[in-house]
Symmetry: C2
């Protein structure tokens, strides 16, 4: 095995090196870089040449320290799923337009790591955070001291009450449940998402409300996780019941995929024997065979508007605290009226 020696890394050139090289002051070099209109064009040209020759790049860390701003935004995401990355795309677009850089900080739904990223930003690493959903309040470690400018995306953050751009998951989940009820279903199951995710809780709540309003039993409500595997396992449990449900509202499209697998594996058909409703309208729900009926969440816009709001906050412009975006149902091939009404 051939080992390489560590590469010799010469010290990067600083503003002083450039100034010394040209026998001018560092102030002039600095101005040539950021405010060239204040200088004689000839001077700017000389500096540019020397900068090129020495390979000088301004040290961003020093710049940040002096300026007190980084123009970086941390996007804190609980998990790496395509759903969250659709939100991220919207954020990225807005950031690009507004002169910010964004980086994604992944927490794996761990409140401790979430706290660490908040700390980094509070300590000057970035100007603000976009919190894409988050951990449950009760699982969080006690009292962070002071939060950096933050906007919640996709979901309110109960307890901290950050400004938000979100959808009403309770209402949207109720809407999905009502779609099933209106088709004529009475025994409707729900497979929920991760116990720690507030979004999962809110979707479950919407299901319970809609069922209660229709006077239906909620005995088919089972816990799950945001993954096809968990969806499949939960559905298998549901199928083992003496009296099976005729429809299931899954807390996400991924869960729906798992549920459909389980139903097919049991020799039943979708939606012939059992209807399946997803949530999120991920690309997966359009691609899957059969295509999945689901609830559309305007992920891109959510991200775009959240970043825009954060910019306003940082610029100390007025903003609306809580912004709600609309959702709607997308009926595809996995929901239909029950066989025997």
């Amino acid at each position: 095995m051939s080992m390489s020696a560590p590469p010799l890394q010469r010290r990067p050139a600083t503003i002083k090196d450039v100034a010394r090289e040209l026998d001018i002051s560092v102030a002039t070099v600095s101005r040539a870089m950021s405010k060239p209109h204040l200088l004689r064009p000839a001077t700017v040209a000389r500096v540019r040449e020397a900068v090129e020759r020495l390979g000088y790049r301004p040290n961003l860390v020093a710049q940040n320290l002096k300026l007190g701003s980084t123009r970086i935004i941390y996007v804190v995401v609980p998990a790496m799923s395509l759903f969250f990355f659709d939100v991220f795309r919207g954020i990225e677009r807005a950031a690009l337009e507004q002169g910010y850089s964004v980086v994604a900080a992944h927490t794996g739904r761990d409140p401790v790591r979430e706290g660490e990223y908040f700390d980094q930003v509070a300590c000057g690493r970035a100007d603000g955070v976009l919190l894409v959903s988050s951990a449950r309040l009760e699982t969080r470690p006690p009292h962070q001291h002071q939060y950096p400018p933050t906007v919640s995306v996709l979901e309110v953050d109960e307890g901290r009450e950050f400004p938000s751009v979100r959808v009403d998951h309770v209402a949207a989940a109720a809407m999905a449940t009502n779609h099933l009820i209106e088709l004529g279903h009475r025994r409707i199951a729900h497979i929920s998402g991760n116990a720690l995710a507030p979004m999962a809780e809110h979707r479950r709540r919407g299901f319970l409300q809609a069922m209660a309003a229709a006077g239906l039993s909620t005995e088919y409500c089972v816990p799950g996780e945001f993954s096809p595997e968990a969806g499949q396992a939960a559905m298998e449990i549901l199928l083992a019941r003496a009296v099976r449900p005729t429809a299931v509202f899954a807390s996400s499209d991924e869960i729906a995929v798992g549920a459909i697998r389980a139903i097919k594996a049991a020799g039943l058909s979708v939606p012939g024997d059992i209807s399946v409703m997803g949530y999120e309208d991920q690309r997966l729900s359009r691609i899957y065979d059969p295509q999945i009926s689901t609830v559309h969440i305007p992920t891109f816009d959510l991200g775009y508007q959240a970043m825009t709001k954060l910019r306003r906050i940082l610029a100390r412009e007025p903003y609306e605290h809580d912004v709600l975006l609309p959702t709607h149902i997308v009926v595809r091939a996995t929901t239909a009226a029950p066989k025997q009404a």
Copy 2:
């Protein structure tokens, strides 16, 4: 619409505030934070209390400037796909163990943005970069001055020759093609990935080599992109041929999904009429119905080992320049012998 006023943000406490509060020197406060063993326990306790009370957090930017290190790694990813995020998970795990923070920087396969992230790191924003695949050489803007410590993951970066941890995509793609050949297929198609992605090019090359070695025609090799939509469109073109292929090697699982959709839509069956081979072994290939035969790429290990290597480089320890990890074929439900041999 109710507008909130900008929140009044009091200046965060600095080390000086704490020192003044206790009438001690900033040096002592600094030591109490990072080298408490050098101080009288009573002093440390007093400082701790004041820090708590004032809500002081050391400014990381200032710390970084002084120390010349951030302990942050930028993970530069070309696209937000689950495939890349499996790699990211491995990186994260290693970083956690080794005391680094990682953030994901997304380029959307844009060489300009890739360059910007490199610049940020070269200017001190992070200690190094993990380049997960990258843009093609010819599409890159000319001469960046000096690269920060970088490790290529998943693929070599031709032209810049960073140390790497990767797989041999040419060999792996040839392996996949040979699987189809060994099953008895002769008219084998290939749908390739994004033209700008080196990985797509290498997989295509592997296909061409294997076909040439078997003396088979490569007339069914068509361009595509790493998405189900592109896979579907490409497959439709292939199906319109006078003589159809009996098997197709897709450059990714996502492309395979699209191809399968097109085949089914044409009233044909997989693998009865046409076999489909994927690549990457994403979770999708296990979840899809039918489950997709594919090439397994050890994404997690790739990420883990790349981060470990980068740590060695930063610590100026010796390391192996180019590390190759093995791949293998996973035969599932989409490949079989052709109908009429």
